[in-house]
């Protein structure tokens, strides 16, 4: 539904003619959804003005950053935050950086590497916003979920600017909590269906020490990038174990020993995806490597702050792996492959090759939280993939799942997905059915409840959180202009 001319003009007067568009030509690139308009605000003030106009005219809006994933109702105003792409501050002494929504992780990380720093890049990839809540490959060291945000600047659905924590009181970004209860309780971005209404215009993110090089020494031409040398005091390996129990024993011990910079519970299918440059090569490599592993495994990067520190970590790693009857995958001992994976997992976060290349789509069940519990559930979900693999409906990855430790194994993440061709209706239906069934099993057997399920069932099972969230949304969005759904990925 087109905006009335005079309303369009009001928005145009805020952002300029070139930064608003309601032409149907652009809509296929925006989730094939007929938005009332797509608006590109340039700064906090413009976002606030646009949101206030939305309230004035009772128009719904949602923001996106790079916008990889999204579910949006039509006829709303879509705020594409692309023009808000500045790094506001990098504070080395206090280990935080402040970014606008469209600084991508790769950009921030490159700046941080120069300073011997790093941050949590998300599994979605360094091509996505640095500002996201999320989890990724380096969570052992760089934490994840909502635990990396400090202060946040937020335009509420009503068009007020709220600056959380110290930002609101003393203009400092280092603390997002207080005075009193913390607004970080409600300020979060996440995958659908729920995100905090309104718009985050800036956020401070925690930083971590990076013992690696200020820039990797890459060689080669795309798609064959590799490292010309493994950086000093760093090592990457893939270990497989005779059983899930042994793998878990080693994973936990590594976390408790605090020796891994990264521990990524790749299955061998994902290793194959990441080190190959085409689908065919991936299939051949997976078949080959699958014969070399003795069971489930994980990829580890250790990084010493010094030679002594590295030597210690290496010694402990080898002991832990040996105690759990682990076996190192020879392919990854090859420095070329080792370097590819090292750079891939720290600098890109690997995602696209391992998820989309095969068929263009994957449906996944990701669970953050208690690793041993979710592994237990995932074993069953993996078995349930086998009939789909046999029928050729999904890519054969051995029914595998993956995951990793977070905060040296205190928390964790487990995920299992099915890669398939979305144009294949039978495959799509089968995958969706698998997803429903496994989520249902997780719920009924009390492992976890995916909040992407039907809220009328999930809500009551989780202390009616949905009702509280809904109440909150209503109270901060009196005009109902910031609907649920969408994401800031």
């Amino acid at each position: 539904m087109a905006l009335k001319k005079e309303v369009y003009k009001e928005f145009e007067s805020v952002v300029g003619e070139e930064n608003i568009c309601d032409d149907p030509a652009i809509m296929p690139s925006y989730y094939n959804t007929e938005f009332a308009a797509v608006i590109l605000p340039g700064n906090t003030a413009e976002v606030q003005a646009v949101v206030k106009l939305c309230n004035k005219h009772k128009l719904m809006f949602r923001p996106i950053c790079t916008g990889w994933s999204g579910m949006f109702p039509k006829d709303i105003i879509l705020l594409d935050l692309r023009r808000m792409n500045h790094i506001i501050e990098i504070n080395e002494k206090n280990m935080y950086a402040v970014v606008e929504p469209y600084v991508i992780s790769s950009q921030l990380q490159a700046e941080l590497f120069k300073r011997g720093l790093n941050f949590c890049i998300k599994g979605a990839g360094t091509n996505c916003s640095a500002m996201l809540r999320g989890h990724g490959h380096m969570d052992q060291t760089t934490s994840g979920d909502d635990r990396n945000h400090l202060a946040i600047e937020w335009i509420t659905p009503a068009g007020d600017i709220v600056r959380s924590g110290a930002l609101g009181s003393t203009d400092d970004w280092f603390c997002g909590d207080g005075p009193g209860p913390s607004l970080r309780s409600i300020l979060t971005s996440a995958v659908p269906p729920g995100v905090t209404p309104g718009v985050f215009t800036k956020a401070a993110v925690k930083l971590y020490h990076w013992p690696g090089p200020s820039a990797y020494s890459l060689q080669g031409v795309s798609p064959h990038y590799s490292l010309s040398e493994i950086p000093p005091n760093m090592m990457a390996r893939y270990y497989s174990f005779p059983s899930v129990e042994k793998m878990w024993q080693a994973e936990l011990a590594i976390g408790e020993a605090e020796i891994s910079f990264e521990l990524m519970g790749f299955n061998i299918s994902m290793v194959a995806a990441n080190i190959t440059t085409s689908n065919e090569e991936e299939e051949e490599t997976f078949n080959r490597l699958n014969k070399e592993v003795q069971g489930p495994g994980f990829f580890v990067i250790i990084a010493g702050n010094s030679a002594a520190d590295f030597a210690y970590k290496k010694k402990v790693l080898e002991k832990i792996v040996s105690d759990a009857s682990g076996k190192s995958l020879k392919a990854v001992e090859d420095p070329r492959i080792e370097g590819i994976l090292m750079a891939q997992c720290t600098r890109i976060s690997a995602s696209i090759r391992e998820t989309f290349r095969n068929g263009g789509a994957f449906n996944s069940i990701p669970i953050m939280g208690q690793r041993d519990l979710t592994i237990k559930w995932a074993i069953g979900a993996g078995k349930a993939k086998e009939p789909l693999i046999e029928k050729g409906l999904i890519v054969d990855d051995g029914g595998a799942f993956f995951g990793w430790g977070v905060e040296q194994g205190h928390l964790g993440k487990t995920e299992i997905f099915c890669k398939f061709d979305p144009q294949n209706a039978e495959a799509k239906a089968a995958v969706e059915e698998w997803q429903k069934a496994q989520n249902r099993r997780a719920f009924e057997e009390r492992y976890f409840a995916s909040t992407m399920g039907p809220q009328d069932k999930i809500g009551p099972a989780l202390c009616n959180y949905d009702k509280w969230w809904s109440k909150l949304v209503k109270s901060i969005d009196p005009n109902g202009v910031s609907p649920e759904g969408g994401s800031l990925v």
Binding site: N94, G168, G178, E258, Y447, A449, T451, A461, L472
Partner: protein, 488 residues
């Protein structure tokens, strides 16, 4: 006003007190808030009783003031903000529900103190990330809900740590469990399938525990909490570094934490270090203090299961590079205080009497959060304020605690005074108010606002207050939970 018989029915006859002496204890605390007497004190023993209490409170518009720690209280948040209040003393719920080595988590009821939990955790091979020398009567849940800083910043990934999940009865009367504890299923059903209550985020996109922390009991009453624990080290090697140059110590601290080499890590000035270790007053205290450098950085190196000596040895090598670069020395003692003594002391609650009270009998704490670059300036502001008020700045106790893996500093000023000396009391009261005002004006962040200064602190951030009021309106629509605190 809740009728007595209803209270008795809700919590049990032995758990309700109208005794005037008891009421007087809760009518005031060491802080300077106005004295307001509660009408009674109740001590529920289980969640069901708390439910009933909250319902009764809503029915009768009776303010409830939840507390868990025993006296003496310091912040003013346990003193009723209005008349007609009922003190809900959760200190009677003292179960240690579980301690889980494998998943490094413990679950406790509100009345459990550090002194009670530490040995239970030790038995399982785990330990707590605790505040600096809490008083004996301080409860673990109370401390975590206050967002008290902890002495192992390396293990504080988030400001909410070590708190994990909580069960809370909101002021509305609704029960809620946060994080992984929310469901599906009851906690027991979750245990049956191998679940523990540790992941703090959710359910859904919100992190509800953050709303209860820092709320001073204004959102609801917590009936249990889980907390993440760390492994007991197999080997420990503590050190101290003394200096008159705080910036040097801050620089060293930031690297120790950035490189994740140290467990316990904090800075104390000579006043505080002497106050903690003095046995006899005032000679002992003065002698210790005179022998100490102005500032002492304390840190502890730990080794765990695998080659602990080698781990510590490699840390010492790497730390020596830092100390040499900064021109300081890591040693085993400063003055008469040894690093080992400090370590032993800080891994337990304070011995009695509470260390802050030993010097003069009372203590007013002013604490703020700030960043590296502002810290010394703020200490200067406080010193000026103290001198102006006639409180010698050299008598100020100062405690600097890096927080959240080095993203900020908790800076605490301890103003010791004789509570029976009216002029000292008056001076400290005035100094406290003036100092907070000036510190705020110079950019100190008071993330935990208590007492009479709370209003001034919150007035600086109207936008946050507006949202907090909405949240309060949701979770405690009748404003029965500790009214008059924070901005409510």
């Amino acid at each position: 006003m809740i009728a007595k018989e209803k209270l008795v029915k809700a919590v049990g006859a032995g758990n309700v007190s109208y005794d005037e002496a008891v009421l007087d204890e809760y009518a005031s605390d060491i802080s300077f808030v106005n004295s307001v007497r509660p009408v009674c004190v109740v001590q529920p023993r289980n969640t069901a009783a708390v439910h009933k209490l909250v319902k009764l409170a809503n029915d009768t518009q009776t303010p409830l003031v939840p507390i868990s720690s025993g006296p003496p209280h310091f912040r003013g948040d346990t003193v009723p903000g209005t008349g007609g209040a009922v003190i809900v003393n959760m200190g009677g719920m003292k179960k240690i529900i579980n301690v889980d080595r494998a998943r490094r988590v413990a679950m406790i009821e509100p009345g459990v103190t550090y002194g009670e939990l530490i040995p239970a955790a030790e038995k399982e091979g785990i330990r707590l990330n605790m505040p600096l020398l809490p008083r004996k009567s301080k409860t673990v849940v109370g401390s975590m809900l206050e967002r008290e800083p902890v002495i192992m910043p390396k293990y504080q990934w988030d400001i909410s740590d070590p708190l994990a999940c909580i069960e809370v009865i909101f002021g509305s009367g609704d029960e809620f469990r946060t994080g992984q504890a929310a469901g599906p299923g009851t906690v027991k059903e979750q245990w049956a399938v191998g679940g523990i209550q540790k992941a703090p985020y959710g359910p859904g996109v919100a992190s509800w525990h953050r709303l209860i922390q820092g709320s001073q009991g204004t959102m609801g009453i917590v009936t249990w909490a889980s907390m993440r624990c760390e492994i007991l080290p197999g080997l420990e090697e503590p050190f101290v570094v003394g200096s008159s140059n705080l910036e040097t110590l801050l620089e060293m601290t930031s690297w120790l934490i950035r490189l994740r080499m140290v467990n316990e890590c904090f800075i104390l000035n000579n006043t505080n270090l002497a106050a903690i270790f003095a046995r006899k007053w005032p000679k002992d205290y003065q002698a210790i203090k005179d022998a100490l450098p102005t500032w002492t950085l304390f840190y502890n190196l730990a080794g765990y299961e695998y080659y602990p000596e080698e781990r510590i040895s490699s840390y010492i090598t790497d730390i020596t590079e830092i100390t040499q670069r900064l021109g300081v020395e890591a040693v085993k003692a400063v003055g008469e205080v040894s690093a080992n003594e400090i370590l032993k002391a800080v891994q337990q609650p304070s011995a009695e009497p509470y260390w802050k009270l030993r010097y003069k009998g009372a203590c007013e704490d002013i604490y703020l959060l700030t960043i590296h670059d502002k810290l010394e300036g703020l200490i200067g502001v406080m010193n000026d304020q103290a001198d102006k008020a006639g409180y010698a700045s050299s008598d100020l106790g100062i405690y600097i605690q890096p927080i959240v893996q080095g993203t900020g500093y908790h800076c605490e000023f301890n103003l010791f005074y004789d509570p029976d000396n009216p002029s000292e009391r008056y001076r400290v009261k005035g100094l406290s108010a003036a100092a907070i005002k000036n510190l705020a004006a110079h950019g100190a962040f008071f993330s935990r606002p208590y007492g009479e200064s709370a209003g001034m602190i919150l007035n600086r951030d109207a936008a946050t207050v507006a949202i907090l009021n909405k949240l309060k309106g949701m979770f405690d629509p009748n404003n029965v939970m500790n009214p008059g605190k924070i901005c409510f």
